[in-house]
Symmetry: C2
Subunit: 345 residues, 2 copies
DNA sequence: CTGAAAGCGCTAACAG
DNA sequence: CTGTTAGCGCTTTCAG
């Protein structure tokens, strides 16, 4: 593999000049530049980024820690991230952490060794050691679809309180009065916030809040199924449920059907995310959409700014959510009429 | 950021010794090793992989070119790839090419400059320039879910002729006699092969082959919708269709429903892939499953072998597919009885 | 078992 | 405008 020495020799110049044309540095005579370029083409030279990085240049490589790229939400996020990173001239290394602290730490150590220019974090659980390590190292980092209230880091995400509120209010306005919540562990800020929104909506409309109706630790399809099983044990069964996200919603729908409940007639459900999956389920999912792809874009813009040492306009970028109404939630009226004569009208 | 010089000084040894313990080279007195390790911990030293790579060590970074990580098939594949790469100590850089030759080439150039140790290709269209460039450079490369018959490269994939055959035969055995095909461009080997399987099944069962029933250039959901629109113009309409993959199948189902056709009663459809999406659609998709995750694993094992200069047992690794029967395909009997009295029995 | 020294391929002053 | 030279942080003979 040819080096700048080979190029220099062939073009009859010094390596400094070759380096100059390689880096588009000013002050090279056009004719000389042409000669160097010709030599580069002739020898099929590939400018060694490893050597360049060693002399203080950037690596133009970013790390992206996320729980699981196979999860459609993160896959779409990753697409936004990679597209934008590529636009800025960076490559991105994907790291699946499964939310395991030891995996997070191992990746961080490795990425630090590779001297990446910045890190995108979508994987931090509360009080992440890995995150602290990154911060200590001084590596630029931004959180995406996550935040760490105690750490003063940049983050790009939606207002999850609002998301929970929007989902719940939709159900209330449809006429539901007994609404359950199936969310993740409350150690996760996102989960806390969506629950807060749920609570706020119930309160605002004067509906009773019940501990029994709140199911925690729901993760993915299986989490949704479990929630339904628990909910079905209750004496006062809900007519609707707010799911932590689309995957949980799908699990809820699946288990409800399995238990002989029609969705949405006998159980309405609304999700959060609006991943590609939401539009293809049976029934199609009513869900609170996050601007997933765009979130990836903005997170990268943030990170690149940080890397370039520019000061950021703001540290917390909140994007808008919006309700996408499909078929998984309807008024409970039909059911009431059929079964009880419709006491609520 | 501390260097081996700092470590050497603090431990009272030379940099050579530090390097030895860093690389687990033999021939370092245990006590010396301990002193060095202590210094490493004290100074919170991070072994610079960029510098190491410059001296001829590997970068332990792999490139992965794929059309679109947001596509569930590639997302799951990427998970298998990253998991296994991580297991072998490699990181992976994801590159979305959208099947655009110029994007492929740009990524390849960049990755080559970064001196990655190997490349995984899931993005090559026929006669890819990018692939030729990689081959010329001597970089280890393996194809996954793709093959390049003209180039003698390692590849890991399923038997796509068989996949097309399996899907079609299932429909035939269900009693369908007019079966359409909605596939991608025939410039793509995968598409050619699945069509071959379709043709072979029809032939084997003595069914007529019709050009009209074969719709090409179907990509994703929209491609499936278009196929149905075309098929509906036909005088002799199909009662079933074999889709190129799950996404196309979903598009077919959506458009069929929109046109007032019940699936599977009035139109059966079977997909290929069995991505996460297949199980949640309405109706759940009958599909020919590929071992997606495991394909990623094996591709990486192949690539790592290549990188380590070991000779491969074989160049073409063919994994098994299997039919997953769900609800999107049934016998056409019900329909026939209802509409025509059931001439086929 | 350990150290001195010569690179790896490139960048960036500093001279000219 | 161009060349010389000293590193960047590490690995690896080659001596000792």
């Amino acid at each position: 593999m040819p080096t700048i020495y080979d190029i220099a020799q062939r073009a009859g110049v010094s390596i400094a000049t070759v380096s100059r044309v390689l880096n588009h540095s000013p002050g090279v005579k056009e004719e000389t530049r042409q000669r160097v370029m010709a030599a580069i083409r002739d020898l099929n030279y590939s400018h060694n980024a490893v050597a360049a990085a060693l002399t203080g240049k950037k690596t133009y490589t970013l790390g992206f820690l996320l729980p699981d790229i196979a999860n459609p939400f993160f896959a779409e996020l990753a697409r936004g991230v990679e597209d934008r990173a590529n636009y800025h001239g960076f490559n991105v290394i994907i790291c699946n952490t499964d939310n395991k602290p030891h995996k997070e730490q191992a990746y961080v150590r490795l990425l630090l060794r590779k001297r990446i220019d910045g890190l995108l974090f979508a994987a931090a659980s509360a009080g992440s050691q890995a995150l602290k390590q990154v911060q200590k190292s001084g590596l630029p980092v931004v959180l995406v679809a996550r935040e760490a209230t105690d750490m003063d880091l940049c983050s790009v995400l939606v207002d999850n309180v609002e998301a929970g509120y929007t989902a719940t209010r939709h159900l209330i306005e449809l006429g539901h009065r007994v609404i359950a919540l199936a969310t993740q562990s409350l150690t996760i800020k996102t989960s806390q916030d969506r629950r807060l929104g749920y609570l706020r909506a119930l309160e605002e409309y004067g509906l009773a809040i019940s501990d029994e109706l709140q199911i925690f630790d729901c993760r993915g399809i299986e989490g949704g199924r479990r929630a339904v099983r628990q909910l079905l044990q209750l004496s006062k069964k809900p007519t609707a449920v707010v799911a932590f996200n689309d995957m949980v919603a799908i699990g809820i729908i699946a288990e409800a059907k399995a238990a002989g409940l029609a969705v949405p007639e006998q159980l309405s459900v609304v999700g959060v995310d609006d991943t590609i999956i939401a539009s293809v389920t049976d029934p199609p999912l009513t869900t609170v959409a996050q601007p997933i792809y765009s979130m990836g874009h903005q997170a990268i813009d943030c990170l690149v700014n940080l890397i370039n040492g520019e000061n950021l306009p703001r540290k917390r970028i909140i994007l808008d959510t919006h309700l996408v109404i499909r078929k998984s939630a309807t008024s409970p009226a039909a059911l009431c009429r059929r079964k009880t004569g419709g006491s609520t009208g």
